[in-house]
Symmetry: C2
Subunit: 224 residues, 2 copies
């Protein structure tokens, strides 16, 4: 829901689109209203629910003509079913996009390290879907999770380099604990920490969602 993450997704969508002239690009409407209540606060501490604002965003995009909708925020996927129910068009799920990339870069049954907000991690936005796809999850220990949350807050404040230092520490810990691939499962993280191959493959969920969206778009154009 941070606008930098939205821009990061938009840019990755453009980069994932084979295009030489403007009209080759996918028509896009973006709803970036960062006044939506904090997702992690709602999940963990009984803060105001963002669900009405999320539904309003979905409705606005649908009214603007969207034929498929993606939400460039991992934590908001806690309310995926509610969003999908209120929509008259398909929503693509960011975890499905990440799994699609994991299947290309790592073996089945691998241990997947997850870096996301404490809302995403605690509410298991990833765990169940990863398990269904045959992957195990490795989540940060509480003190490492605090490091991730601090890093995310720094990125939101425009202090990406300081944020990256927090992310790198947790990344190393997850790898030391046996993760054979890592998912950057908060859209603020890849802004600060590029998904370069370290000692294990890194899946940037934002970029995965962008590529997944382009494939969806091209397939639906082919079959339309």
């Amino acid at each position: 829901m941070g606008p930098r993450a939205t821009v990061d997704f938009f840019l990755k969508l453009i980069e994932a689109t084979p295009a030489v002239v403007d009209r080759d690009h996918i028509p896009v409407v973006v709803y970036s209203v960062p006044q939506v209540p904090d997702r992690t606060e709602a999940i963990l501490h009984g803060g105001p629910s963002p669900v009405n604002e999320l539904r309003r965003g979905i409705q606005t995009l649908e009214n603007a003509g969207a034929s498929v909708i993606v939400v460039a925020c991992n934590t908001a996927h806690y309310w995926f079913d509610e969003m999908q129910k209120s929509a008259g068009v398909p929503l693509l799920h960011i975890v499905d996009a990440a799994i699609d990339e994991l299947q290309r870069v790592t073996r089945s049954a691998a241990r997947i390290g997850l870096m996301g907000t404490s809302g995403t991690i605690t509410s298991d936005v990833y765990g169940r879907r990863l398990a269904q796809a045959g992957f195990q999850s490795v989540v940060p220990y509480p003190e490492d999770q605090e490091d991730v949350d601090r890093g995310i807050a720094l990125v939101k404040a425009g202090r990406s380099e300081e944020g990256a230092a927090h992310f790198r520490r947790v990344l190393d810990t997850l790898i030391a604990r046996g993760a054979s691939a890592i998912v950057l499962a908060c859209t603020e993280i890849p802004i600060a920490l590029p998904a370069e191959n370290l000692s294990v493959p890194i899946v940037d969920a934002t970029a995965a969602l962008a590529r997944y969206s382009v494939r969806y778009w091209r397939c639906s154009a082919d079959t339309a």
Copy 2:
């Protein structure tokens, strides 16, 4: 109308906004539909007019709740009056934003070099407003204009570095011809050529529009 230019504007808007947490950011709806007919083709060669598509974009943004609208394409400002007439909310003009910055970086009556599409340059999107503000315009010679247009096409094709070489050549020529400041008056140009101070001040019209939008937003919030 190129999506990279739209993203560039969006990022510059975020950077121009004083913000520490998500909710400090301006709520934004973006309409990026690059299937709109080519603006320069319509102005110079009788190609299909983009005006209905531009109006549709304005209408979509207004329906989505926009209380002020900006168009991150200089050439499209050829149809500014038509867009404004069809809108129930104010549109900010990119040339007003550029003039606002020129008045900060150069003296009155200065000669201003313009780099934009041949549509923008030939149809004098800038010239009249600059003259009203007391500035003179220096526009590229035909062979230099071809260089600018080639550079813009390269940026649209994702080949920004090659585009930059064309822009630099024209920039040097405009300075040699006495321009005491340059306006990057096509939103594709600053993607390739950052508005760094060279021997004269460079005004990036995209960044100028972003800062102008933030000031407008803050003033209307203060007086609301």
